[in-house]
Symmetry: C2
Subunit: 363 residues, 2 copies
């Protein structure tokens, strides 16, 4: 009987029902020797060393259920951990996930989240090997990724040396541009509610999203037909915020090509390269003209009246890779050389000093 | 200057300050090849396979800051994951921790939490290899433990066969007794506040704890002098709730002694053995007279008018190990044989059927 409420929730399933349901959606690849259902999982570690990275994501701070589908949240949460593993030069093998979820969470959202984890892992040949489920008022995700170095040395943050070059692979500024567009849309909503702004900065295809119930599928793709190139670029920026696309294979590739330092860009390129500079005891000098600024970033910057380079240099959440190579390195097309390592300290752009350009979660 | 507020908080430190502070308190053992400070840690996995378990703990559901110190929360959070690894027959090597913390969390609490993680890991020769920190309104801990099997097969839940014996190692019912005492104390507080109960079930040494600010040290040990044996036993039960004492070494020992199924008792012995029975397709029969009921459990049961066997059979959070061995096994003094495996299904005590006797977080 379904009279007042037609959405099946996690509370309806119960803890063990939810665990069974999640496990049933998770095929196991060959790196997982023992999957969900026991006290612990078992994952192959042929190298004899295992790379491990963990992140905690909290609803309202790292994602919003009204801005991202469960599927996107799963892909994003997996991606940021898998990118950390790749940034060591390792190939991801598995993730485990601690899920904190409210009892009234629709089961469809949990299914979509699970599928997101599964599909992002599949991109790199990894699997969800296990997890834990707990009740929580907000959705909280504790994601841990494992990886294998295949005999290579790990590429840390401390190996940059003067004379080397700095290169990046993957998107920069896309997620920040998308977030800014979503925030501008929200401000537009508020203004409209107050009767002050009849139209303006709401984006095509984004209208009403923050009022809609959390969706499980991919948002608004049917609306793409007939869009102008600008609208398409704006939508790509929003999609990049919802779901990063880290250049995973570039991590082990960089290690093979002799990268001596590497990290994934999670807090913004300037801030993250600042960690390399500090850990290595060197100075990083970037050349702003060397960055290929993506069309979504340029379109969003034009729409909001912002310098696109701000997002490229300080935007987080794209999980690009930044690495330092010997000057004579021959890089493939995934990499752009954007600067050099010199003696000194800090990070400079076009010869000008920069401070911490990223995001500090507590200040 | 300190005028209105003299407690240094996590917000005062900032994210990177907090990370630096935590890392500085964490010595690295020889199993950790690369510790905190990079995109990922690197842990030895000499077996070529790595055992991995993760848990998510949420303030108010899994712990209370007014009932447990930061140090106890850290030890307990580490213990429950390390016990999962031990329950596979593996030796824990490292944990990584995702910390969700409020900006107004006192730094002293964070220090104590960190020390708790460190010290519980040290019990088994493991280390805290890395982590992540995020802002959250409640304290949330995502803990992942890794372990090495040393060439042994993992001991799962599905290997129990008729004719084998069931044995337990470690405490049973202590944590449940302690929790019941704390809850009874809380009810006593409420009654007093309402002017209905002038005294009664508040425990010696527990008085006022729920009103006190979160402490960093061990509670009330100075009050032990002069206590009667009963009071001491009650305090031991409360301490067991705050900090489990899993029999870690018994996990690999059981594997060497031929255990064919094993798990750690986290939700209650009946419920957890129900998982073994279901996964193995067998029936578990327990003999209630075979359990050695600890003095803290007996004292608390007498104080609250409860059958101590209830806590022994259904109490969670002690992280004892339950394992199934060939009937001819010769076990050391850490193990008690408490039952046998027969054909059939479910779990029985003294020949009587039991239902799910544990705790379902969502119902």
């Amino acid at each position: 009987m379904c009279v007042r409420r037609c959405v099946i929730t996690v509370g309806d399933l119960g803890e063990f029902g939810a665990v069974t349901r999640i496990s049933g959606r998770l095929p196991q690849g060959e790196t997982v020797l023992l999957g969900p259902g026991d006290d612990a999982a078992m994952v192959s570690a042929p190298d004899g060393r295992v790379v491990v990275s963990t992140d905690l994501l909290v609803e309202g701070r790292h994602f919003r259920r009204d801005w991202s589908s469960g599927y996107d949240v799963g892909r994003k949460a997996a991606a940021q951990n898998l990118a950390d593993v790749a940034a060591m030069g390792a190939v991801p093998t598995a993730i485990v996930v601690g899920l904190g979820i409210p009892a009234d969470l629709p089961v469809g959202w949990l299914d979509a989240l699970t599928d997101g984890f599964r599909d992002e892992c599949a991109v790199v040949g990894a699997s969800v090997a296990g997890g834990d489920i707990a009740r929580s008022d907000l959705v909280v995700l504790g994601v841990t990724a494992l990886g294998d170095l295949g005999g290579r040395a790990p590429v840390t943050r401390s190996g940059a040396r003067p004379g080397q070059v700095v290169a990046v692979a993957g998107r920069l500024g896309h997620a920040a541009a998308g977030l800014a567009l979503l925030e501008a849309g929200r401000e537009g909503d508020r203004a409209r509610e107050a009767g002050r702004a009849p139209s303006g900065n709401r984006l095509p295809g984004e209208a009403g999203r923050s009022d809609a119930p959390p969706g499980d599928g991919l948002p608004g793709e049917e609306d793409l037909e007939g869009d102008s190139g600008v609208e398409r670029a704006l939508r790509e920026a929003v999609a990049a915020h919802r779901r990063p696309c880290p250049p995973y294979a570039c991590g082990p590739e960089a290690a093979r090509l002799g990268a001596s330092a590497m990290l994934d860009v999670s807090d913004g390129l300037l801030q993250d390269l600042g960690h390399v500079a500090a850990a290595s005891g060197v100075r990083v000098e970037l050349d702003s003209a060397a960055f290929a600024v993506g069309a979504p970033v340029r379109a969003a910057a034009a729409a909001l009246g912002i310098d696109p380079l701000d997002w490229v240099l300080t935007g987080g959440d794209d999980h690009a890779l930044a690495a330092v190579f010997p000057a004579e390195v021959r890089l493939g097309p995934s990499w752009q050389i954007v600067g050099r390592v010199v003696a000194g300290r800090g990070v400079a752009v076009d010869g000008r000093e920069t401070g911490d350009g990223g995001w500090d979660h507590f200040r």
